[in-house]
């Protein structure tokens, strides 16, 4: 029931808020130089890319996909995600708005040079496709012991 949502456990709610704030700070308004393979805003699906010292995570905001139809490939540091979203359109109805993207899509994302194409992982949860690529061992920061 949605009604019970307003009675959030406080700690859980605080936690959510904090996480959201962190995400807001991280992905908030900012300008990047446009990549040579970048596409116009509004192109389906929208993408966020985040990096840590361990790896790079690509988030595709692609609701309503069948993950089996996705074609994800990586060559050197170029990640390609292709697929198709079919939005069912009943024909005996009257349409007022049709804003949801329907059809094939393909996006190419340039990743940092030091990613390891052999260590890629993809998950599809609640309409977000998350592709995690690890950096090469040699380029990760190492702890140096003082003897």
């Amino acid at each position: 029931m949605f009604g019970s949502l307003s009675n959030f456990d406080d700690s859980l709610f605080d936690d959510l808020r904090r996480m959201q704030r962190e995400m807001d700070e991280m992905f908030g308004p900012r300008t990047w130089p446009a990549g040579i393979r970048s596409v116009a805003r509004g192109t389906y699906p929208p993408i966020n890319v985040g990096a840590t010292s361990e790896g790079v995570d690509i988030y595709l905001f692609a609701a309503g996909l069948d993950p089996k139809t996705l074609d994800i490939s990586i060559q050197q540091n170029l990640l390609t995600v292709a697929g198709e979203r079919k939005v069912e359109v009943p024909d005996d109805v009257e349409y007022y708005r049709r804003e949801r993207y329907s059809g094939a899509f393909k996006r190419v994302i340039s990743l940092p040079e030091d990613v390891d194409p052999d260590q890629v992982d993809a998950h599809y949860v609640d309409g977000i496709l998350q592709v995690s690529v690890k950096r090469r061992e040699a380029s990760r920061p190492r702890q140096i012991q003082v003897k």
Partner: protein, 131 residues
Amino acid sequence: MKDKTQVTASESTRASQSREEAPTLRPPVNVFEDAEGITLEADMPGVSRERLQLRVDQDSLLIEGDIQAAVPQGMEALYADVRATRYSRSFALSRELDTENIDASLNNGVLRLRIGKRAEVRPRKIEVRVD
């Protein structure tokens, strides 16, 4: 997996206005109508059933949801098309819609709402008799 659930009608949408003003995302929607009711589909990737909020009263429908994604510690953004974490969009409803009779489902980030029409306003077929 399909989550089928019933919407509870709330008295007002005031709760949303008391929130801090953060930028929100406007989910793209398809809206269509047939003889029995109106269907609304909205793309809200990243929203789970627990983080979806629907508020309905006699005149309006408010759709809200929070994006939750697995973000590792210490991550820095390299690029971002999506620059907010909350979806919000509202619609004015009309009298003939039966707000007691709404069905909602959320499947892979796609919200599907079905709002029925009151029985008395459904189009009736009028027979023409030929004498």
